[in-house]
Symmetry: C2
Amino acid sequence: MATLKDVAKEAGLTVGTVSRVLNNRGYISDDAREKVNGAMKKLNYHPNEVARSLQGKSTNTIGLIVPHIRHPYFAEMISNIENQAYKKGYRILLCNAQSIEEKEREYIDICTGNRVAGIILCSGTVSVEVFDGIRVPVITMERFLDNGTAAVECDNRQGGTLAAERLISCGCRHLLHVGNISSISMPADQRTEGFRQVCEKMGVAFHEVFTEKSQYHNMKYDALIEKALQEHPETDGLFVNSDVIAAQALQVCRRMGISVPGQMKVIGFDDVNIAALTTPQLTTIHQPVREMAEIAVNLLHDAASGKIVPKRTVLPVYLVERETA
Amino acid sequence: MATLKDVAKEAGLTVGTVSRVLNNRGYISDDAREKVNGAMKKLNYHPNEVARSLQGKSTNTIGLIVPHIRHPYFAEMISNIENQAYKKGYRILLCNAQSIEEKEREYIDICTGNRVAGIILCSGTVSVEVFDGIRVPVITMERFLDNGTAAVECDNRQGGTLAAERLISCGCRHLLHVGNISSISMPADQRTEGFRQVCEKMGVAFHEVFTEKSQYHNMKYDALIEKALQEHPETDGLFVNSDVIAAQALQVCRRMGISVPGQMKVIGFDDVNIAALTTPQLTTIHQPVREMAEIAVNLLHDAASGKIVPKRTVLPVYLVERETA
C-alpha cells in the first residue's frame, strides 16, 4: 500500500508539501496540488482519515439523529442535510433513534465516541441533562433544547394561521384539526395555537384530535380520522399536521363517500413528495426543509469553528394551493 | 476528561480487564462488566472510537451509498439497513451519490479513507474497475457487480410475470409497461422480461415505455404517462416499475377522465409506504425490502469476518392485491 512518502517521491515534492495539500493548509500552488493529486491517483493512495482525524480534535463527521427515516418528511430532511454536508466537506453518520429514549441516548454516546464535529438532532425524547456533558455543537431541528447550541424551526404558528384562514375563506364553518403527539411537547404544537386563534377570532367552530407515538411510527392514521369524522359529522374542513396524515384523510373521505374538495376541504403540512403524489393533490403548508437543512449544517460548521451562532432560527412557511382546499 | 486508568481505578479492576470489557474480548465476568459500566457512567467516560479503530484494521462503520434518499423505496431501504446495522453493532455512513459517477467514485474513496468495515452499494454508475482496488466487502443491492462480494436482489422476473398474469386475468387486453431508465442496465430490467414473456405467451398486445434519469431523480413521470396513454388510447392495463410511478399514473388517469380500476387497472412495484397512501390504494408487487436489508448487513458482517458468502442472493416477491387491479 502506498504511503505519504511514496506520493511525495512520485510528485517530486516534499512530504510537507503533500501534507499541506491533503490538509488544505497554508500556501499551495495549483501546480503542486495537481502533481499531488496525480501521484495519489497513480499510486491509488487513500489518506487514512481515521489517523488524520486523531491528529485533529474531531472528525469531519456529523452525527444525524432522527426519529424516523421512511417518513417522507425525514427522508426529505436527511436528503437535504446529506447534500449540504457533502458541499461543506462533512459526511453523515445516520442514527435512527425511533423516539426510543434509550436508543437516542446510546446514539448520542456513539456520536461522541466517534468524535463527530457536531450533532444534528431531529429527535427529542432524551432529557436535557444528557446534553450538558457533550462538548460538540448540538443543532436541533424543530425541537428546542435549553442547553442546545442552536435550534432551527419553521414558523409553525404562522402555518396554523394560514391553514385556518384558507379553510374559512373557502366557506368551511366546522373545522377539525389533527395535531401532534400529545405526550411530546414540540415547536409544532404552535400550529394548533395559530389555528385556534384564527378560529376563535372568526367565531368558527373547531375540534382538536391528538395523535399517539404508535400512529406516528406506523404512519397509520385512518382509524383515528374515521372515528373523528363519525363523532363530528358536520365537519367540512380538515387541517392535519402532516401530508402523511392528509393522504390518509383523503382515503377515509373516499371510503365514507365524502367528496374532496366538494364536501370537505383538506390542508396538510410539510409539502414533501407525498403531497404531490395523492389524488387529488394536497393543498398544504410548505415547510422550507431545504433551507432548514442548509442552515443547520452551516450553523454546526460555524459553531464547531468556535463562532458565536444564533440560538434560534425561525424560517417562514407558506400555503401551497393544489386541489384539496 | 476521564481516562481508561480512571475507570479501572473507580471499578477496582485492572486496565486490562477494562480493556477486555470495552473490546468485548476474552473472558469477562458479569460482575466485572457491571462494575466497568457503572464506573464509565459515573465518570462520564466515552471510549475514543477513533483511537480504538486505529488499533484494529477497520471501524465498525458501514458505508451506505444510495442514488436517492427521498425516494420512498430508498428511504425504506436505508431505514431497514440502519436498523439491522444497529442490531449488529455497526453504524451507517450515509452517502447520496445521486447517480453521478464522479460523486459515487468520491464517496467510495471517502468510505475506504474512513476505514469502513464494508460498503453496501445501492447505486451503480461507476465502472467495475473502481472496485478492484477496494479491500473491504462490497455488497450490492439490486445491482450486479462482477467483482463485488455479494449481490442481493429480489426476483424481478417473477414480479413482471405476476403483474402480467394479474392484469390479463382482470380482463385487460391492451397493456402498457413503464420500465426502467433505458441508459442503465440493472436487475430490475428483468421485470420487463417476465412481463413480456407472459404477454407473448397469452397473445396479449403490449407496449413498453422507458424512463430517463432526470425523471427518476425528480420523481416526475406524469408527462411521460400522459403522452403514452395518448399514443395508446386503447390501453386498459398499466404495469409500472415503482409505486411512485403508479401514484402518478392514478393522477394522470383522473385528469384524463379514466376511472381506476373501472376502465384502467394499475399495478406498481416495491410496496413501500406510498402504495398504501394513494386513493385508490395500489395493487403492487411486494419487494421484501426488510429481508433484503437484513441479509445485506449480515453478508457484509460475515464477509468482513473472512467467511465465504453467497455471491448472489435472490428473494421472492409477491402480488399485494389492493384496489387498482
